[in-house]
Each structure stands twice: as C-alpha cells, then as structure tokens.
C-alpha cells in the first residue's frame, strides 16, 4: 500500500514545493538589483528549476487517473517477468485477462503452452504469425489454431535428414493436448546432395545410399498426439518451379509402410484424407490392411489417386471390417470388378452413409451391382456415381432400389449416358420415392421433361423434409 501512496504523495509534495519555490524565487528576482549581478547568472538558476518542476505541476493532462494502481503495476511486473516467474493459476479471471493482454507473444512455448488457457494471448500469438486467422475453422479455439498451425508448419518444412526430428518431438509435449487436426499440404523430399546448399529442396531417387526416409516419418509423431482426430495428407511439393520431378508427387513404398504403421498406432483418428498422392493398388492394400479394425476411423478419403480393382477390393474388405461412415474414392481407376467388390461389401454394411465413386470406370456391371446392393443396404444416404460410364441398365437397377427403399437422400448420376430408358425408369421410381432430396441428372441425355418432373419431386421431398425437421425441432 505504501508503494502506491508514496508516488502520489511525492507528486503532491513536489507540486506544493514547486509552488512555494516559485513564490519565493519570484520576489527575489523582482527585488534583486540587476546591476549587481550579471543577468545570465541571475536568471539561470530559477529558470532551470522551473523547467524541472513545471513538468509535473503544470502538466494540464496530469490527473490522478493516470497514476496506475498497485495491482496493475504488480500484474505488469508479472507479465514482464513471466519467463522467470510464471504466475498465472493463482490469479482471478480478470487479472488473467490483464496478463494475457500484456504477455509477450515471443515467450518460449514450454512456459506458456500448458499454463495459459485459450484466450487473448493465443489470439495475439496467432495474429502476430499469420495474417488470415479464421478461428471458426478451429472450433473457435485460438490455442488450438496456434498449435495446429505451428505443427503443420514444422512438418511441412521438415527436410528429411536435414531437420532434426527432435525439433518436432520437442514440440509434442506442448501441443499434444490441443492438436486435433493436421492438415498437411506438402511434404518435402530429402535433399539430393547434402554438400549442396539447403535451398535445393529437391530429392532424387538415384542416390540409393542417401536418405534414410523419403518423406517425414509420421511414425514418430502420430502415436504421441493423443487428441488427433483428423489427418489430411498430400505427398507433394508446393512451388517446385523448374525443379519439377515426378518423384516429388509420389508416396513411396517406404513412406506408405511407415504411414500405415503410424496410422495404426494413432487410436484417436477419425478422419484420414490422403489425396493426390499416387496411391496404387499395392499401397492402398497396405494402408487398408493396417487400417482394418481401426477403433475410431469414420471417414476415409482416397480421392485423386490411382486405386484400381485390387485396391477397391481391399477397401471393400475394410468396409466390412470397420466403422466407416464416409468413403470417398473419387477420381480413381476402379472398374467393374472393384465396384462389384465394394457393392458386395455395401450389401452387408450397416455403417456407411456416403459413398463417392465419381470419375471412376464402374460401368454398367458395377452400377448394377451397386443398385442391387442398395436393395439390401439400409444406411447409405449419399451416392455419387458421376462420370462412371454407366448407362440405362444401371439407372434401371438404381430406380428399383429408389422405388423400393426410401433411404437414399441424394444421388448423383451426372455425366453418364443414361438415355431415354434410364430416364423413364428413374421417373417411375421417383414418383414413388419420398426420401430423395437431391438428384443430379445433368448431362445424362435424359429427356428434359423427365428431369423437370424429377426436380419437382425432389423439391417437394425437400420441403417435406424441411417440414419434418422443423417439426422435430419444435418437438424438441
């Protein structure tokens, strides 16, 4: 308390003292005969005094409100000495907020990570590092955003055999409780020649004796991130420029093996998205083999890869031995055999909600198989068969399923030459159906009137669905 009172008192005293000195000095100046003293020496002393004193006494902006409170001073000192003496848990929420607003964002993470809860401090950290900060993508948690993006950055800039894996492992204890998602959009390959400068980010497979790993090894990381739920991976290099090489955009066998093992070790993973990574049948089978009986995996996305029939067969196996809810295999090279395998698995599956086979080569055989499987399936809601070279027979099979079961909600058959027959079959089915709220029949050579009819049905279904939902809401 004394420390608070003293500066104020001192100021008051100074002001009073100053006034007195001025009063004392002025008459002396007035009475002093100028001839006795040289004018400079006569005026210098009081002038100097006045200068030093007037700062406080005659400052028009000086108010008592400007005197900081002791508590604030204390908090400020805490904030400035946080590195040596971190005090946070004992404080009240308002004081914590005060500290968070004043802490330096450059503090080492080992102090702040597990001490400071989500809030303004992490917001400041994020905004200092990145320009675009959409906290809604991170569950409205600035801390999560900070750590996820930190880790992503570290992984994306990880150069095999150059960067020490320890740097990433050091980060783990700080961030493992907060990282829920890893969205990695590049994985650097090893440097071609170690003696060259680091800016050469290229790697070559010609030197067989060189790198121990081709990309970052997730095996050392995934089992430690205890709250990781989503993993988005792309094996590619951004901004490669003229150093382009096909190897940069491929996942090697070694990578695949290590990743498969890492995935198996990560028990909390719910979503795996591995796209544009040149996954062939063998790699797919390897991954699937390790993902079999995964306890939590719900969403699997192998879009834009090179998975063929064998891979599809493996995925079919995964469907029957897992809890997958969403499967995305768009832009692969799955043909009728693979589609048959998936359809077979689908007919027995009771968890899958969404199946995306866009831009594959399923053809009529696969399409028919899927249509037949839908007759047995009771869960699938979304089906995408766009651009699969299916024709009227598939449409007929699907319309049978649509007519019999009111489970499918959205169906996409765009870019298939269904023809008049297929259109008519679908029209007939849709006239009976009440569940489909989305039906894409663009570029399918179906008669416009049929399309219009189907759209009408879809819209009525949609409005009905909305009403139902609204009713449920009100019921709740």
């Amino acid at each position: 308390m004394q420390s608070v009172a003293s500066p104020w008192k001192r100021m008051q005293y100074r002001a009073a003292h100053h006034r007195r000195t001025v009063e004392v000095i002025c008459p002396t100046i007035a009475t002093m005969p100028k001839s006795y003293y040289p004018p400079e020496s006569n005026l210098k002393a009081p002038d100097g005094m006045r200068k030093t004193r007037t700062i406080i006494a005659e400052d028009p902006h000086w108010t008592l409100a400007l005197v900081p409170r002791l508590s604030n001073l204390c908090l400020q000192s805490i904030a400035s000495n946080f590195e040596e003496n971190p005090i946070f848990e004992q404080l009240t929420p308002s004081q914590r907020r005060f500290i968070q607003e004043r802490l330096s964002p450059s503090l080492p993470l080992h102090i702040t990570a597990n001490l400071i809860s989500d809030g303004i401090y992490w917001k400041r950290c994020c905004e200092l590092r990145w320009d675009l900060c959409d906290v809604s993508l991170y569950g409205h948690s600035w801390k999560r955003m900070f750590f996820e993006r930190c880790l992503e950055n570290m992984i994306e800039l990880f150069i095999p055999d150059v960067t020490e894996p320890k740097t990433i492992l050091d980060m783990v204890p700080h961030c493992r409780n907060y990282v829920k998602r890893l969205d990695i959009c590049q994985l650097l390959t090893p440097v071609k020649e170690p003696q060259r400068a680091e800016e050469e980010e290229l790697a070559s497979e010609h030197e067989y004796e060189g790198p121990s790993v081709d990309h970052f090894d997730f095996g050392i990381l995934l089992d430690k991130l205890t709250s990781l739920e989503e993993l988005h991976l792309v094996y590619r290099v951004k901004h490669c420029g003229m150093n382009f090489e096909w190897k940069m955009f491929e996942m090697t066998d070694r990578d695949c093996e290590s990743l498969a093992k890492a995935l198996m070790s990560c028990k909390t993973l719910k979503l795996l998205r591995l796209h544009q990574s040149h996954i062939e049948d063998n790699k797919c089978r390897l991954l699937v083999k390790h993902l079999l009986d995964h306890p939590s995996l719900k969403v699997l996305d192998f879009s834009h890869n090179l998975i063929g029939d064998r891979g599809a067969r493996g995925i079919g196996k995964l469907l029957s031995r897992g809890n997958l809810e969403v499967l995305n295999l768009c832009d692969n090279v799955i043909r009728d055999h693979g589609a048959k395998a998936i359809a077979h698995a689908l007919s027995k599956n009771s968890t899958l909600l969404s199946l995306n086979l866009r831009l594959n080569r399923v053809r009529d055989e696969g399409g028919q198989a899927i249509g037949e499987a839908l007759l047995k399936n009771n869960t699938l809601c979304h089906l995408h068969l766009g651009g699969n070279e299916v024709t009227a027979p598939t449409a007929v099979a699907l319309s049978e399923a649509l007519a019999q079961k009111n489970i499918l909600k959205s169906i996409n058959l765009s870019c298939n030459n269904l023809g008049e027959a297929g259109g008519k079959a679908l029209q007939g089915a849709m006239s009976l159906n009440t569940s489909v709220t989305e039906c894409d029949l663009r570029l399918t050579e179906v008669d416009e009137q049929i399309v219009a009819f189907i759209n009408q049905v879809v819209w009525t279904n949609e409005s009905l669905e909305e009403e139902r939902r609204a009713r449920e809401k009100t019921d709740k």
């Binding site: 040149h278 834009h304 090179l306 832009d331 866009r358 080569r361 870019c415 894409d440 570029l443």
Partner: protein, 674 residues
C-alpha cells in the same frame, strides 16, 4: 495419367463450349425464365411470407447448379477424354502389335535370308542376298521410324492438348470463381432484401397491432371511463342523498336534544330558585342573629366609649409632647405652603407676560393688516379712477366699528386685568406680610405698637391707612378681625358652643375661625386679605362717614370713639363687608383662574373672526373679478405696447436708414451739381 495427377480437380478437357453453353442456356431458360415469371405471378397471388423463402431456395439451387454445372461439365469432359485416351491407347497398342507382328515377320524373313545367304557360295549371289537383306532391313527400319514418328506426333498433339486443357481449366476456374462470387453477392442481396422485407412486414404488423391495440385500448379506456364516471355520478348522488339524510337526522336529534335540554334547564332553574329561596331564608335567619349580636355589641361599646372619653380628658392636659411635634410639622407645612405660593406667583408672572406679548402681537398684526387693507383700497381706488374712470367710493369701512369694538372690548378687559394686577399686588403685599410674620416677634410687637399707636387719632389712622396701603397687617389685627367676624357672623354657624367652651380661648377662636372659613369657602391664605378688605371697607365707610362728618361734623367723633375692635371695623358693617368681600373674592378668584383663558377666548371668539374676515375681504369678489378682467386687458395692452416698442426700434432704424440714404442722395446729388 500425368495430367490427372497435376490438377485432377479441375483437370477436364473442354471438349466443346457448345455443350456447356447449351447446358446453361437450358438452365437459364428453364430456371429463371419460367420460374421467375411463375414466381412473379405467385407473388401476386400468395402471401409474401411464403414466397420469399421459396424464392431464396430457388435462388440457392439455381446459383449452385450454375456453379456446379462447370464441374459436371468438366467431369463429363474428363470422362470423355479418358475414354478417348483409352481408345487411343487401345488403337496404339493394336497398331504397335500389328507393327510388331509385321516387323517380326520381316525379321524372320531377314533371319531366314541370313540362313539362305550362308548357303550362297558365289560372291555375286552373296552380294545380291546382302543387298536383299539390306533392303529388307531398311524397310523394317523405315517402318519403325514411321511408327516412332507417328507416336511422337501423337505425343506432341497430346502435349498441345494438355496445355490447351490447362488453359481452359484455368479459364473455367476463373469462371467458377466469378460465379461463386456472383452467387455470394446475389445471395447476400437476396438475403438482405428478404431481411428488409421481413423487417418491413414485421414493422407493419407491429404497427398494425399497435394501432389496433391502441384503438382497442382507447375504446376500452373510454368505456371504462364512462362506466367509472357513471358510477361516480351515482355515487355522488347517493352521497348527496345520504348527506341530506344525515343532516335531517342530525337536525332531528338536535331538536330533540335541545328540547330535552330546555326542559331540563327549566327544571334546573326551578330547582335553583327553590335553592336560592332556601338560602335566602337561611341568610335572613343569620342576619337576624347578627343584628341581635350587633345590638348587644353597640350597647356594650357605647358604654366603653363614654369611659374612654373620660379617660382622654384626663390624659389630654399633660400632653405637651405632641405640641412640639405639631409645631415642627406646622413649620414644614408653612415652608411647603411658601413653595407652593412661589410657584403660583411664577405661573401668574408667566401668564401676565404671555398676555402682554399676545397683546403686542395683536397690535402689530392688526396694524399690518390695516396697512395692507389700506393699500388694497388705494390700489382699488386707483384702478377705479384711472382705469375705469369711475368715481371711487370708499366702501363702508368695517375697520372703524371693529376697531372700536375691539377697543371697547379691550377696555372691558382692562378692569379684569387690573383686578388681576391688583390681586397680584395684594398677594405680593400679603406675602410680604407673611414674611414679616415669619420674621419674628419683633415685627409683631412693632406692628402691635403701630396698631396701638393708631388707636389714638387720625395720625395713627393715616398710619394705619399707610399700613393698609402697604398691605401690612399684623396677626393681632387679623385675629381681632377674625374674632369680630366670629362674633358677628357666628350665628350663621350651628356648632355646639358647649364643645368649644371646654377648650382654651385660643383654640376656641382657631376652631371657630376654621369652621367659619370652611363655611364661607375661604381659604386660610385669604384670611389676611379678608382682614385687609374689612379694614379697607371700614376706611371707605369712615371716609364716607368723614364726608358725612364733614357734612355733619359728628361722625368723626363717633368714629374716634370707637373701641379698639370697632376701631378696626364697625361690627354692624361686618356683615355687609363680608358679603361684598365674598362677592369680590369669588369674582377675583374666578378671574384669576380664568384670566388667561378669558384673554385667549376673547380673542378666539366669532367676533374677532368676523373682524379678521372683514379685514381680509376689504376687496369683495366682484371687485376681484373686475380686477382680473382689468389684468387681462392690461396684459393685452402690454403685449401691444411691447410690440409697439419693438416696432419703435425698427422705425428708428428705418428712420436712420432713411437719413443715411438721404445723406447719400444728397452727396450723390452734390457732386453732380458740383
């Protein structure tokens, strides 16, 4: 395969723009054209609330399809491209297989040729065979080359396609972005419109509701007010009724109460009367008792009184002590009396001085007023004579009469004043005498001697007369006179002579005189005056007698033969002398009392007022009017005169000018002449 890897999301070869455009035109024709018109009609038909969400959903659908159209088109193109690719690959494979087969055949042929050449012996044949082989080989190579060229061309084409595709994809991506932005914009706009609409609708609804509610409220309030007022009026009426009732009830009860009160009062009065009667009877009884007692007491007390008087007579003689005290008291008394007399003297002096000043004032004022009146009359006469030319008659002068009356009055007043002065003189002399009496015994003895000396003859008488004139009277003479008076006038008194007889002679005379004076109403101070008067009277009488004696010559002797007492005054003359004295005395008294008042009253009387008024009205009102008229005419006359005066100066100046001009003329004439 490679292209797919690079950008699979957008990697789609735009086969032809026509398809796309067709799709869009279709969509556009179908969706916005038909449906918007339908919407418009619906809008008019249905309520807005239902339309706007539908419109929004339509908009959403439409816009999303617009965006996704590109994607689906790209997908379609991609699938087409893949188909083509596959076909091309198939064809290429077939082509290659055919080529391989043909080249294999050729190769076999060549190998067979080689085996044939081994059989050849001659160089020529060998040469031919070699040439043949060479030809075959070259053809094979050519074939291969051809194939290679074809493939390379295809590759080149493919590369070109790829570049084109990439460009198109970029364009499409841009288009897609644009459309997305458009979608966002239109959607936000739509949402805003909807918001505004809903807001306006809400506002209108709330307004309507508010107005309805307010009107309802007002109506209800009005009703309520009306009912309330009706109730209030009713209540007031009832209140008035009840008040009237209450009043009537109150009055009734009051009447009843008053009636009972009056009755009770009457009863009470009766009772009180009875009570008083009884009390009175009791008092009468008591009074009787007291009377009896009193009579008893009187009887006893009379006896006691007689005893007490006896006792007093026994005690009175040796009582010298009180006499001394009485002397001292008498001294004090005399002193106080002297003081009183002095005060009275002063008062009289003041009064006289006042009167004198008043008189003087009167005279001066009168003189002034008269002078003024005279002046007024003179002026009047002047005016009359000079102004009007009428002979002036002196108006009947009230002054003479009034002044004469005044003079008479004054003369009438004078004796009174003289009397007063006389009185004053006598008083002075009396005082002197009293002083003398107080001076001592010597004076007494002297005066006594003088008196005794005066007993002798006329000389003494003259002396006595001188004495009289001086106003000095001895106590002795006074006492003598008093005694004489008592003897002569004593019959007037009804006092018990027996009571006096018991006292000493001095006391007797004192008491007698006191009673006498009291009966006459004369104060003790006037006693010497009385004596003096009596003596004077005697003198007058004696003069008369002397005159008579002169005539007869006997009466003087008679007078000389008078006893000392009769020397003072004849007893026979005492009574008339007393009478005359009393008369004079009373008069003088009244005068002395009223003298000052009389003066002022005399002045303030109505006669004086009239006199003064007459003095004031020397000039009557008619005259005053005349004067005013004269003044007016005179003022006019003066004005004219002043004008004339002014004109005079002008004429003077003109005259002067004239003279000058004449001079000038003359001068001017003179030179001409000269």
């Amino acid at each position: 395969m490679e292209e797919v890897d690079m950008d699979p999301e957008k990697a789609s070869e735009p086969e032809n723009v026509e398809v796309k455009s067709r799709v869009f035109t279709l969509e556009d024709d179908k969706d916005p054209g038909v449906e918007l018109s339908g919407e418009m009609s619906e809008k008019r038909l249905q309520e807005r609330e239902k339309i706007s969400p539908r419109r929004i959903t339509n908009l959403q659908r439409h816009l999303t399809t617009l965006v996704t159209n590109i994607q689906t088109a790209a997908d379609a193109r991609e699938s087409m491209r893949r188909k083509e690719l596959e076909e091309a690959r198939k064809m290429r494979l077939e082509l290659l297989e055919n080529d391989m087969k043909s080249s294999q055949e050729k190769f076999e042929e060549i190998t067979r040729g080689w085996s044939l050449t081994k059989e050849k012996v001659s160089a020529q044949e060998l040469q031919e065979a070699l040439n043949n082989q060479q030809l075959l080989l070259t053809s094979l190579l050519e074939d291969k080359k051809k194939v290679i060229d074809e493939l390379q061309q295809e590759l080149k084409l493919g590369d070109d396609h790829f570049v084109k595709d990439l460009k198109k994809q970029a364009e499409e991506r841009d288009l897609m972005l644009e459309r997305m932005e458009d979608q966002i914009k239109t959607l936000t706009k739509a949402y805003r419109e909807e918001l505004a609409q809903t807001q306006s609708v809400n506002q209108r609804e709330t307004k309507d509701l508010l107005t309805n509610d307010t009107s309802d409220w007002e109506q209800r309030m009005k009703k309520l007010w009306d009912t309330e007022q009706a109730r209030l009026a009713q209540r007031r009426k009832t209140v008035e009724e009840y008040e009237a009732k209450i009043h009537s009830l109150i009055f009734e009860t009051m009447d009843k109460q008053t009636a009972t009160k009056i009755e009770q009062n009457a009863k009470l009065q009766v009772l009180e009367r009875e009570h008083q009667k009884t009390l009175a009877s009791i008092i009468v009884v008591r009074l009787n008792q007291i009377k009896e007692k009193h009579e008893l007491e009187v009887l006893t007390s009379s006896r006691v009184d007689s005893l007490q008087t006896e006792k007093k007579n026994a005690v009175a003689k040796p009582n010298n002590q009180p006499r001394k005290t009485s002397q001292s008291l008498s001294k004090d008394y005399k002193q106080s009396v002297q003081q009183y007399e002095r005060l009275q003297k002063k008062l009289k002096q003041i009064v006289v001085a006042d009167a004198r000043t008043f008189e003087e004032m009167w005279a001066t004022v009168e003189a002034e007023v008269r002078q003024l009146a005279e002046r007024a009359l003179e002026i009047d006469s002047l005016i009359c004579r000079q102004h009007f030319g009428v002979a002036w008659e002196r108006p009947p002068m009230p002054l003479a009469a009034s002044s004469s009356s005044f003079h008479t009055e004054r003369q009438t007043h004078r004796p009174a004043r003289r009397a007063v002065s006389q009185l004053y003189h006598t008083e002075q002399s009396l005082q002197r005498s009293s002083q003398r009496t107080t001076m001592g015994v010597d004076a007494e003895t002297e005066s006594a001697d003088v008196d005794h000396a005066s007993m002798g003859g006329t000389a003494t008488q003259s002396e006595g007369d001188a004495e009289l004139e001086d106003g000095t009277l001895t106590l002795e003479t006074v006492t003598k006179v008093m005694e004489l008076l008592w003897e002569e006038v004593g019959f007037l008194m009804e006092d018990d002579p027996t009571l006096l007889a018991s006292l000493e002679k001095e006391e007797q005379t004192a008491i007698k005189l006191g009673s006498l004076l009291f009966s006459f109403g004369i104060e003790e101070e006037d006693l010497p005056k009385l004596a003096h008067f009596l003596l004077k009277y005697r003198q007058q009488q004696s003069e008369q007698t002397e005159r008579v004696c002169d005539e007869t010559g006997e009466s003087s002797d008679q007078a000389a033969a008078f006893d000392p007492t009769s020397d003072l005054i004849h007893p026979n003359h005492v009574l008339p002398a007393l009478k005359s004295f009393l008369n004079q005395y009373m008069k003088s008294r009244q005068n002395s009392c009223q003298s000052s008042v009389v003066h002022t009253e005399g002045r303030g009387s109505s006669e004086d007022k009239a006199y003064w008024e007459s003095l004031g009205n020397v000039i009557p009102d008619s005259k005053v009017q005349l004067w005013e008229e004269a003044e007016k005419t005179l003022t006019q006359y003066i004005v004219i005169l002043t004008d004339i005066c002014a004109l005079d100066t002008e004429t003077d100046s003109l005259r002067q000018q004239n003279a000058e001009l004449r001079m000038l003329l003359q001068q001017s004439l003179n030179p001409q002449v000269s």
